[in-house]
């Protein structure tokens, strides 16, 4: 029953990617640019959690809470300091993209300079013991837990978007930000909230990723590439698309690593990306944008 085990692993990795991809897609749906600094928020969350556990002696719940809030606030701060001046000056999103690359370099290297680039392992706070699934397969408690947490947060996001007033505003803004502004939505606050939510979700992913692998400043950029790929496979700006894309990616990674060779893992991921785009140029669930003349 090896295959079931690999499937569960794949879903668990995929669901963590989904947390990151959804945040990225959320920002994309409102501001229409690829936020390369997204991985930075993940790393910030991871480090806050690490230091909260190691140095300040918090328990995992308090530490995670601090990490989520910290990453969310840093996302808001980045938006306020770097994106807003450009957003107000020009409608060209390319400049935002370049700045976000700069920010991602800055965040990465702030950690390299201040606390060093070495690999750090989170203290063993998340249970890792093997769990037997009704005699079918054995998997680790960690995989199940990360799957469960990701599902809870994704449902939470969905409820936020569907049930609350700000969620309605965000959905309106994803159709047309300007019109949403004309309808009386405070656009700047809305974008702040979007970044806060994106940073928070990235931090959840960051904590699980730094527990699964290790924590280091470059963790963000390697993982965000995958989250971007997942979001593009699913269709940019589409949240269900981002989730499905991430699950496909997680499964493909784990199945390739399990049955072919872990060297080909990333190659398979990129092959899936290119093939999907050649067949469906706007991803699986993307809006096909017809250009107006």
């Amino acid at each position: 029953m090896d295959i079931i085990q690999q499937l569960i692993n794949g879903l668990s990795v995929g669901s963590v990617y989904a947390l990151i991809a959804v945040g990225y897609s959320l920002v994309y749906s409102v501001l229409l640019f690829s936020n390369f600094a997204h991985g930075g928020f993940l790393v910030i969350g991871g480090y806050i959690c690490y230091f909260a556990l190691r140095s300040w002696g918090m328990n995992i719940y308090m530490a995670s809470f601090a990490a989520l809030i910290g990453a969310g606030l840093s996302a808001v701060l980045v938006e306020r300091v770097a994106y807003r001046p450009i957003r107000e000056r020009t409608p060209i999103t390319l400049y935002l993209l370049i700045v976000s690359m700069g920010i991602s370099i800055v965040i990465e290297n702030i950690f390299v300079v201040t606390i060093g680039g070495r690999f750090r392992a989170l203290p063993p706070v998340i249970p890792m013991d093997p769990v037997n699934l009704f005699g079918f397969a054995t998997t680790s408690a960690f995989d199940l837990l990360s799957l469960l947490t990701a599902v809870v947060f994704l449902i939470g996001l969905q409820l936020f978007l569907v049930k609350t007033k700000w969620g309605l505003a965000i959905r309106a803004a994803s159709y047309n930000l300007k019109t949403a502004g004309l309808m009386g939505v405070n656009v700047n606050r809305l974008i702040g909230i979007v970044f806060f939510v994106a940073g928070l979700l990235a931090a959840v992913g960051g904590i699980f990723l730094s527990a699964r692998y290790t924590l280091y400043p470059q963790l963000g950029s390697t993982i965000t590439t995958k989250a971007f790929v997942a979001a593009v496979i699913g269709g940019l700006g589409s949240l269900p698309g981002a989730v499905i894309g991430s699950l496909i990616l997680g499964l493909a990674e784990m199945l390739t690593a399990g049955f072919i060779s872990s060297q080909f893992r990333d190659l398979v991921v990129f092959a899936i990306l290119i093939l999907t785009l050649i067949m469906r140029p706007t991803g699986l669930f993307g809006k096909s944008v017809g250009e107006k003349v």
Partner: protein, 299 residues
């Protein structure tokens, strides 16, 4: 010390050649790419293998590197350049990484992730400069030719250009192929400069660097890209003594320039005599204007 300065200038010339290529594709054709390090890798490995295993003279080897990168770019471009906007950007990221991973895993030819040592150090300062000058002049001619105008038309309005009868898909692929050639040559020169190549040298960070250099210098300005490449190469080189802070400073410079001058250093202007004259005369006019208004107020 002299060797050190010569080394920096050589590296500068190599980076400028790559920047020229990306400038054509991103600046003049308006397609954002995150995979051009892959074409550099193709050029670098081709030149390395040709000179090392088959003892080909370095000049044909460099040109072969460029041509192979160009062919690969052309073949990749046909299916993928149908994608628009950020879809192509992420696809190019995937393509660039895929090229790197293939090189990394094809150990019998490329020696895998450990790298390819022992390449003859053929890239001296004069070689790099001659290549840079020839290719920069060629780029000026390309941009001002009918092809260049077609590229710019694709950038400014994709739909209008195709309505005017431009085969926009063809021009986009062509632009990618030419920029692939430039990056391939730059990679081949880099291989000769370092006498060692490794797949990690051509990862996503390198691609990001290439494109940020071009946006930093000014999209749609050749001299801008050259200035951008010069400034960012010097920033990383001059701060080598405090190497820890080097990338931090690099990131900060990028963020500050983009926040305060989003159109890049040169905008779409070229650094010509007229442009310099205009800057000075604009300043003079402004100061004359100030004087006149203060005089008026005084009287």
């Amino acid at each position: 010390m002299q060797g050190y300065v010569a080394g920096i200038i050589t590296l500068l010339a190599i980076n400028c050649i790559a920047a020229l290529g990306v400038s054509l594709f991103t600046g003049f054709t308006g397609i954002f790419t995150l995979g051009h390090a892959g074409y550099m890798a193709i050029g670098a490995y081709t030149a390395a293998i040709l000179t090392f295993k088959y003892s080909v003279h370095f000049i044909p080897a460099i040109i072969c590197g460029g041509l192979l990168a160009m062919i690969v770019a052309y073949l990749i471009g046909i299916p993928t350049l149908k994608l628009v906007g950020d879809y192509y950007t992420i696809a190019s990221l995937g393509l660039g990484e895929a090229i790197r991973l293939i090189i990394e895993n094809w150990e019998s030819v490329t020696r895998g992730a450990r790298g390819f040592p022992g390449i003859a150090p053929y890239t001296s300062l004069p070689v790099a400069l001659v290549f840079l000058i020839i290719m920069a002049v060629a780029m000026f001619f390309i941009v001002n030719s009918s092809y260049g105008r077609a590229f710019k038309a694709c950038r400014d309005d994709y739909v209008a250009a195709s309505l005017l009868g431009f085969n926009t898909a063809h021009y986009r692929v062509l632009s990618l192929a030419v920029s692939g050639f430039y990056c391939g040559v730059s990679g081949a020169l880099l291989a000769g400069f370092m006498s060692f190549v490794q797949p990690v040298m051509f990862d996503m960070a390198k691609s990001t660097e290439l494109v940020s250099v071009v946006v930093f210098g000014g999209l749609g300005s050749i001299s801008g890209s050259l200035i951008g490449a010069t400034i960012l190469t010097l920033v990383t080189e001059l701060f080598r003594p405090i190497s820890q802070y080097r990338m931090l400073i690099y990131g900060l410079v990028l963020v500050f320039v983009m926040v305060f001058r989003p159109e890049g250093i040169m905008g779409t202007n070229e650094l010509t005599l007229n442009y310099i004259k205009n800057i000075f005369s604009a300043k003079k006019k402004a100061s004359e204007f100030d004087r006149r208004t203060t005089d008026d107020c005084a009287s």
